[in-house]
Symmetry: C2
Amino acid sequence: MPNPLVDDRFVDFLLDAVHPLDPILALDAFAEHDRDTCRMYLETSRRFAREVLFDSYHPMDAEQPVFEGGRVRMHPRMEALWPRLLELGVLTAARSPDVGGFALPGMVALASQVYLMAANGSAMGLVGLTTAAAHLIEVFGDETARGLFLDAMYSGRWTGTMALTEPHAGSSLGDLSTTATPRGDGTHAIVGNKIFISGGDHQITENVVHLTLARIAGAPPGTKGISLFAIPARRPVEGGLEDTLEDNDVTVTQMLHKVGWRGLPSLGIAFGERGDCRGWLVGEPGQGLRAMFQMMNEARIGVGAQATATASVAYHEAVAYARERTQGRPPAGRDPGAAQVPIIEHADVRRMLLRQRAIVEGSLALTLFAARCADLARHDAEGRRPTHRALLDVLTPIVKTFPAEYGFESCALALQIHGGYGYTTEYLPEAWLRDQKLNTIHEGTTGIQGLDLLGRKVMQKNGAGLKALFGAIEGTIARAHAAGVPPAWCDAARALDARFGEVTMGLGLRGMKGDVDGMLSHSHHYLTALSIHVIGWQWLAIAAAASGHDAPFHRARMRAAQYWFAVEVPRVGPLLDLCAEAEDSYAGMPPEWF
Amino acid sequence: MPNPLVDDRFVDFLLDAVHPLDPILALDAFAEHDRDTCRMYLETSRRFAREVLFDSYHPMDAEQPVFEGGRVRMHPRMEALWPRLLELGVLTAARSPDVGGFALPGMVALASQVYLMAANGSAMGLVGLTTAAAHLIEVFGDETARGLFLDAMYSGRWTGTMALTEPHAGSSLGDLSTTATPRGDGTHAIVGNKIFISGGDHQITENVVHLTLARIAGAPPGTKGISLFAIPARRPVEGGLEDTLEDNDVTVTQMLHKVGWRGLPSLGIAFGERGDCRGWLVGEPGQGLRAMFQMMNEARIGVGAQATATASVAYHEAVAYARERTQGRPPAGRDPGAAQVPIIEHADVRRMLLRQRAIVEGSLALTLFAARCADLARHDAEGRRPTHRALLDVLTPIVKTFPAEYGFESCALALQIHGGYGYTTEYLPEAWLRDQKLNTIHEGTTGIQGLDLLGRKVMQKNGAGLKALFGAIEGTIARAHAAGVPPAWCDAARALDARFGEVTMGLGLRGMKGDVDGMLSHSHHYLTALSIHVIGWQWLAIAAAASGHDAPFHRARMRAAQYWFAVEVPRVGPLLDLCAEAEDSYAGMPPEWF
């Protein structure tokens, strides 16, 4: 049986019963849609992911793009895939009809994407970058920029990139040094170097548009002086015919050899080596980071979705292997004459599988919840939007991080279940393990997410984010109680809410008293603890919908919820103690002691 | 500054103060040695590891062995390395002078090996396999086998392998089906297929000897029917000149493409495809597994050493990168005009580094302790040996597993600290991360180690293993108290001893009442819990020796001990609760629910 990538019935269960889609479809913004249109898109995506996209994953991983003569060639499979992805409508599924989109609810678009991402993350990378870049121009660009780029990108004739990182600055965007000098004709002359530019060059389309952060001559230092530009690799010829392009002085300087995501090239790019590179300002001068962060927050949900997808496909591979591979006998009956049993009969193999499922399905529930939250933050009644927004803000670093970090452990378990075979490139789990590692790094490392959560998201607006989260958890607890979920899980969730409230308040006070370092020293443990608690909440929501049903489908979810509360949740308390005490083993250790 | 691979001063500190070498040197067996001879060997190994061996790591990882025309060719670098490794004496450092060895204490040999393993695990793989295979023949072989193989192998003219695994049986050795039929001339005709045979063929030496498990015609099923054979790829010509070899019908059927350890080929091997393969029995018929397990227990300590070494070299790479790479500014002073700081200034980077150090140095201390224990179990006064043996037995699954599992997390942190660069093959951490994964699989997976620990090692001989362990921990606590180590750590260790005693007793009773499945269902969590506790004990021993010293070297170790007790040890209690309750989330879940 081929790998299903993602469990259909579980996705349907989420959309029907756990985080229902119906109230979203009832919003005016989605008047054009109903369950049938949503289901049709979802089904088409599922089929395409399974029947077309997955098949190209292994070849694209095995043969990386080629960098030759200054140009990059992606795997030939990608040439055939691109028009079919466009046909599916992935670039604009959740965008407005004004730009050719279906205006699907974000949660439906995301549910569909998870299948495609599970099938082939590298191929979907090119999609995600293009749609995110186009969206920036759509929201922030002026008439000229929109006219030049929007249709070409949303139609997939050109692709897009995010050109943020510079070799010396990395995550510290305020330190970037690419410059932009007004040319007097509305464009800017761009000079600078970027690195890790995914999809920065290829033969799939005739042009690539780099959404690039740069500093306009005379701008202040730090993040305030940063502006956003659209820089095409080839620019329209002035006064030429509409479709005539000329070289825009954008050079590929190197191709990095990535550990995973090997279908998608990651490049060094130089702008203006010959002094002839033009960029189009997107948004106001000095507002580049603001615009980029809007994109980045969406991109972080996207990373969570990709990480979930990668963990999911690896999980399903491991289940299939564990059913099929026979080895050994149960401890209680070691008759050497008896036939060997499928390894899924061994309790420790089921431990590894249930842990994977708890991570994968918990992540999926959370990621869909976040997408739903984004739908509501945009389209719910005006007065309710700030609560949805606050909740989404506080969940974003968790959605970005949990599926990536725990998903890495989950992929390692998938490899482990495959034993010695899993340690060879003849089997796929090792590739997914490599892919997964990127998700803890790009779009803000785990360390940065911890600082973002504790230093910003839970503290801003008088703690509105945590309040919104606790409100949502309380609602779930009430549903769970009513559904007959074991009270111990509800009590555990409620007690943790209280403890998080206390500890966070204490940390806020510590910060206000000037001990910002102490407040933030365990930001990683705070992020881990809140993630485990939030996933516990998701399992409570799933249990509330599954409780009382007798089918193996539902009882299996009750088991996963039991696992989460019994095995993972007990880690939270001790982690919060560290935060509360500002335990100083590493924070207080001078760098020269290492 | 080049990567030091392992911290010299810390190794010296272990040998001088934490697990002192002097009492070992005082044993009769090591009368030929003193601190100087030991130090000389250690220094030579350090220098060779740093100046010669490490340089070949990256090329051997980048270009895997080639399988062509039925023969395997290892990287050309290996051809130059092999004679130099022999010159160093690595094959026989800890062996008796009777076989050309130095008879070094095992703990000194192991301390030296850790450097070599950190420099190039694949190269050391060929060494380890050869010396282990030769040792089996030395201990169990008859005159003929010893005469044929021993000198050739210990001198490095021929290499050795461990040919246990068969495609359909994997870890379940009792199910292997390779057959051996007496030929009447003292040899057996061998027919069968093996897989994952590391170092099974190469151009480095003229012959390879496979220590192979097979079933003599008519032997009982299961593990009792298994015998051990030495099967050379080329055999001495009957009646020919001493050094004339002829083909022994041993065929390489495939080369697996491993994820890591890419310098060392892993092969499928067929014996007797033409009916002309001869094996020499090693030990008594039916005693093959007993012999193999003696080797295996040593090999498991070796895996722990290799895992420690890999985590160590990755840690040192991460420290150097974190000092050198500048990025961002501390949270308390975000002046965008100020210069960027080295990332080691960020608390979360120091968290990742201190966690790595706690894992690496805790593993190193434990592994050396185990090697010391083996020296004592062999050479201490007769009456004391059983206690050393019991302690070594109970520690073996922990030495095998902790450095591998936590070392994998540690290597992932080294990659993470390198950020986007760490995700490229231009930097080394990703290679060590790949290497590390094997250590949770070969020589018994983590799942098997858990069953071995809880189902056998802590239960056998009326719990002699745990008693010996608790005795040793109690001794360390007394030293730590006397040295002024924070009493909270001592109290934590003592309380955990008591709790482990209780829980283990309860599990034993559960097993005796017939609920073997329930007793073993959390064997993984038991292994994890006891590992964290045992590493805490090691940090207590280190702290006892470091306490009261003012040098950064010692204070840094106190910080690492603090980290371990504050951050890692609190996980133990909840894990033991799961064991005690036989919590049934996954154990009670039927396979078909996945």
